[in-house]
Symmetry: C3
Subunit: 208 residues, 3 copies
Amino acid sequence: MFFKFLPQAVNFYDLFDKQVDYAVDAAKYFKELVSKGAIDDASLEKMGTIEHQGDEVAHDIFNHLNKTFITPFDREDIHALAKELDNITDMINTIVSRLVIYKLNSVDKNLIQFSLVIEESVNAVACAVKGLRNIKNSKSIQDSCVEINRLENVGDAMRDTVLAELFEKTKDPIAVIKLKEIYQDAETVLDVCEDVTHVVGAILLKQA
Amino acid sequence: MFFKFLPQAVNFYDLFDKQVDYAVDAAKYFKELVSKGAIDDASLEKMGTIEHQGDEVAHDIFNHLNKTFITPFDREDIHALAKELDNITDMINTIVSRLVIYKLNSVDKNLIQFSLVIEESVNAVACAVKGLRNIKNSKSIQDSCVEINRLENVGDAMRDTVLAELFEKTKDPIAVIKLKEIYQDAETVLDVCEDVTHVVGAILLKQA
Amino acid sequence: MFFKFLPQAVNFYDLFDKQVDYAVDAAKYFKELVSKGAIDDASLEKMGTIEHQGDEVAHDIFNHLNKTFITPFDREDIHALAKELDNITDMINTIVSRLVIYKLNSVDKNLIQFSLVIEESVNAVACAVKGLRNIKNSKSIQDSCVEINRLENVGDAMRDTVLAELFEKTKDPIAVIKLKEIYQDAETVLDVCEDVTHVVGAILLKQA
């Protein structure tokens, strides 16, 4: 009877590694797409698949969390971490969809810049998250978090510059509506990466 | 002395039934309003009243939660469920207010389509939430959640199509600003319904 | 060995007083800036400093929370309160940045009106938060919360009127895009103040 209630052994670290790898895939593929300009249906579908796979790992984590008594760190932190990692992949996928819906087909130098910063930040997120498995080496996790915060500030400044320029130079209001949303979305990805550092920071502090 | 601290017996199921009924009322009335086009002051007030009544039940739930030791399911899930149900009614009310403020007076076929999907989704939310009272019959709750997820996907595709068309056909930027926000809001209602399924799923898993 | 795990004594009330004082500073300085119109680089930097200082107190609270076993009220409420107070200062700073980026240099009577309501509301938030130290005098905390809710309703009505007027009178779509966002942001500050009353209400109820 008792064993009935015992969950299957699940390794949350493995699930988080898998989830953050999808975020890295999304960021990398996003960079490729914006450097080429026009996004075709096959590319849109491929990005949608990455997002869907990341989503499934997130749901795996939520499900295991609801059935597991003993977790490697606080339940609320596991939930928050899975949620934020999901938000990264989601937001990148949303930007790609919007580029297609808004028929933004030409190469946009600002967006390429954003995609480079996003890729760097998501890579640092992967280092921080994968580092949790070996939490005694918290120095390297902290270094990644500092880097993510730095890149969020870089993104903030980029968005401000790019929006000021957009309003200065673009006279077509429809183009302003579209690009303003895309640039703000791009900066939001970096905000979400920073949210990950808050969860990771809480985990580190509680284990210290 | 001790009895002083005992809360009045409160039935959270009754409160959730009441709250979700207001969401159903809001969705139904929303469908009526957009099928007629112009929204007059009396209609705006009626929708505001539904929203206000739903809000009061949400606060009842929060207050009882803060004073009750024993709850039918996890406190955090009760809080999240009341919050998400409140968000449904709130968002529908916001759309109606915006239609008035933006003086969008004519019948919009896209919005009628959204209102039909929203009504279906909120009805399924009501089935899922009312099913919690008899959690052993979790099959029917799960069916409702699958349906809500399906309708969210329908809404996503609708929003994408409708926005692409809006940017294609509408040359007046002011009209684009207004309708873009309204369509995105309409899809947000379906997102919030999907958020309810996440809370309901967590409740089911924990009780399994 | 045991003492190693004992946190330094920290007074959460002192930290919240400090944090809410930065919110008050931000609201007051915001009112000054919009009454003058054009915002220069020095003013932008000063507002950024206030926001940064508030942010640091928020992080202090989160860090102490993760290292402290005994807290004056529920951990989740401490976290939520610090988060919402941070959101107030953040949102005010965001508005100021946007005014600069959008080159909105002239005195805007609507924004002055908003800034007055925001200052009143943030002052009431300060009274509510500082009142928590002496929770037996909950009457005065409740009065502040009632006032914050009243001001949120005032802000809602203001935003609706101001947006209706904007769409009525302003023919330049670019100006509409900019001002619509600014007015909605201004109302969001009042929403966040109202969110504080929800946390404060939960704290009062649990201690009752």
